[in-house]
């Protein structure tokens, strides 16, 4: 877990520094008032300070090893399916597209094909009726 602390600390420290640097490029305030860069710099400084503390803590306990993600394949496949579903958003056939996406996801998660397809179809139709027909949210 401490390995994760080191990575998070380093990433957030870099983000904090980026906020400080980018904030300096925003227009300054006038008449002693803070400008658009004041808050980014203040938050960046706070983040860099706290992240440095996390980084040091992580480095001190390096021997405790990295964190692990179990069932990595299923998580990755679900994330990839979500990405594909999102990339196809608005391409038409909402009910069919959603039903197919859900059925594939359910079958990859160990569910039988036919019940999965039935449930996915029913869920897609329900969502379509509730949002598109009921609430006038255009789902394509």
């Amino acid at each position: 877990m401490r390995h994760a602390d080191t990575i998070c600390g380093a990433l957030l420290a870099a983000l904090g520094c980026a906020l400080i640097v980018s904030g300096a490029g925003f227009p300054a305030g006038t008449g002693g008032l803070p400008g658009a860069g004041f808050f980014p710099q203040a938050i960046g400084a706070l983040m860099a300070l706290l992240a440095a503390a996390l980084l040091v803590r992580g480095l001190r306990h390096r021997s405790e090893g990295p964190f692990s993600i179990t069932n990595m394949r299923e998580v990755a496949v679900t994330a990839a399916l979500l990405l594909a579903y999102l990339l196809l958003w608005g391409s038409g056939w909402f009910v069919v597209r959603t039903a197919v996406f859900l059925a594939i996801m359910l079958s990859l998660l160990g569910q039988r094909w036919i019940p999965a397809l039935g449930y996915a179809s029913a869920l897609s139709i329900l969502v379509y009726l509730a949002f598109d027909a009921g609430l006038n949210v255009t789902l394509e």
Partner: protein, 501 residues
């Protein structure tokens, strides 16, 4: 007394009660579906009220408002996905109770504490409306800044034992809140030339992603644990008398905090619930159990987020100032029906004021009955096979995020937040502070800078404002309290009074 009876008799017509019941049921559906908010429900159904009498139309809108917030706690408790932003704090203890096999009790407490919060705030509205509203009116930018600073300082408290990571998570939320136009000069910050980012990052899709999609990915990763929790018992619904007595203080103090915060324009139930939860944790003798399934923690947050309804209505009716987006739409509906909210409403038409108070009372009682009777059937959702439940969360979350603005960027925000939520959970980074930072960041920045404009850039002039000083003191105490507790704990351990953990 005559005004009270006139208000009551206007409400007791069966048509009014019927529209009220329809509103409560619709509100319950809107609250239970992540992405659908009270604002959306009231806005969608306001045109329908033009076809009926003002009493009937208003009863339906109030029913939606009073029904949405308590039912927002249902998905927060059962599947760790807050139905509304106000229910974020309810998920901290509510979902922990579900994992312990006490989903029924969590839902029962949600119903009871929500109604207690609503009824308490309605009592404030009926009898103390003007003092509360005049207190809320004393809030200028400096006081708002103090309130938001106090809210941000609670990050450490809601970090569940990971203080450093919690504060960092909150700082990340504050950083995300910087995206969009600068609140004072409209200078674009971190938009990368994309017009979609000019309005900033909406926190509702982020919330759905962090808590909903993130939870789904975690459960896919830990499938054994997911199966165990799905098989958990529902348990009893109503708390035992002894538990109710233990929760009473947290419930009523949560109601008071929620009413006061709700009365302050732009500070709603989401902020009120977090402040009430943290206050209850600090004052409880069992503060360490908060976030791990504390009944008092759940009661305080549910009570506060619902009490904000009465607080917001108080400011709206007495001053004509909308406390939040729902109140703004309600003001519009009232104006269309020929009713002008403001001080004269209380002076000239007190019967009408009570014709608002009584529907709210009936609505909060009805949602309590629905909540208690529906607790066991609703908790059956836990016996649905986990992959089917995940599919439902993903599709409702996705479409709910899209429905907010009909924008696919909100769905992207939800998915990115979902992946981040998964990684954060795996690395034990608390999620609550991030959402807190995202909500409070814009309020804190804009109000500090407005206050400095009013004081002509003089920081010390702000310290002459007593309400701000109270908030600054509370913030300081809030930051020092974990250190004080740690020192006291260490002192006790060194004296051998309590065993080392």
């Amino acid at each position: 007394m005559a005004e009270i009876l006139a208000g009551l008799s206007a409400v007791l017509a069966w048509q009014v009660l019927g529209f009220l019941a329809i509103g409560v049921c619709l509100g319950a559906v809107f609250g239970a579906l992540p992405g659908l908010t009270a604002t959306m429900g009231v806005a969608l159904l306001t045109p329908l009220t033009f076809w009926v009498s003002p009493e009937q139309g208003l009863a339906m809108l109030l029913g939606i408002y009073c029904g949405t917030i308590p039912s927002g706690g249902i998905p927060a408790i059962l599947i760790n996905v807050p139905g509304t932003p106000a229910s974020i704090a309810a998920s901290w203890d509510g979902y922990a109770l579900t994992r312990k096999g006490q989903a029924g009790l969590a839902l029962g407490i949600n119903a009871l504490a929500s109604t207690t919060g609503q009824l308490t705030s309605i009592a404030f509205l009926a009898f103390l409306a003007f003092p509360i509203a005049s207190f809320a009116l004393r809030f200028g930018p400096a006081e708002y800044f103090g309130l938001t600073l106090l809210g941000v300082s609670l990050m450490a408290g809601v970090s569940g034992g990971h203080v450093l990571k919690g504060v960092l998570s909150g700082t990340l939320g504050l950083a995300l809140a910087l995206v969009g136009l600068d609140p004072m000069t409209a200078y674009p910050r971190y938009t990368f030339g994309m017009s979609e980012f000019l309005d900033g990052i909406s926190f509702v899709p982020v919330m759905i992603g962090l808590f909903g999609l993130g939870e789904v990915l975690v459960q896919i990763s830990d499938r054994q644990a997911a199966r165990a929790s799905a098989a958990a018992a529902i348990g009893r619904v109503l708390p035992r008398i002894a538990d109710a007595k233990r929760m009473a203080r947290a419930t009523f103090s949560g109601a008071a905090v929620g009413t006061m915060v709700g009365a302050i324009p732009a500070a709603g139930g989401d902020i009120g619930a977090v402040i009430a939860w943290e206050q209850a944790r600090r004052t409880s003798s069992d503060g360490d159990s908060f976030g791990k399934g504390s009944l008092s923690g759940l009661a305080a947050s549910c009570s506060a987020c619902n009490a904000a309804i009465g607080g917001g209505m108080t400011t709206m009716l007495t001053l004509g100032i909308p406390g939040d987006a729902v109140s703004a739409i309600l003001i519009g509906a009232l104006l269309i029906h020929g009713i002008q909210p403001g001080p004269l409403l209380f002076a000239n038409n007190q019967a009408f004021v009570f014709s608002i108070v009584f529907p709210m009372i009936f609505a909060s009682l009805l949602i309590m009955v629905i909540g208690i009777l529906g607790a066991k059937p609703l908790a059956k959702v836990l016996s649905i096979p986990a992959p089917w439940l995940w599919a439902g969360i993903i599709v409702f979350g996705t479409v709910g995020a899209y429905a907010l603005n009909n924008a696919v960027t909100d769905v992207w925000a939800m998915y990115v937040a979902g992946i981040a939520g998964f990684l954060f959970r795996k690395t034990q980074i608390p999620l609550g502070p991030l959402v807190l930072g995202l909500i409070l960041g814009p309020l804190m920045e804009s109000n500090l800078r407005r206050a400095l404009i009013l004081s002509r850039g003089d920081w010390s002039a702000m310290l002459t404002r007593p309400i701000l000083l109270v908030f600054l003191t509370a913030t300081l105490l809030s930051l020092l309290w974990p250190l004080i507790r740690a020192r006291r704990g260490a002192a006790k351990r060194s004296q051998g009074r309590i065993p080392d953990a």
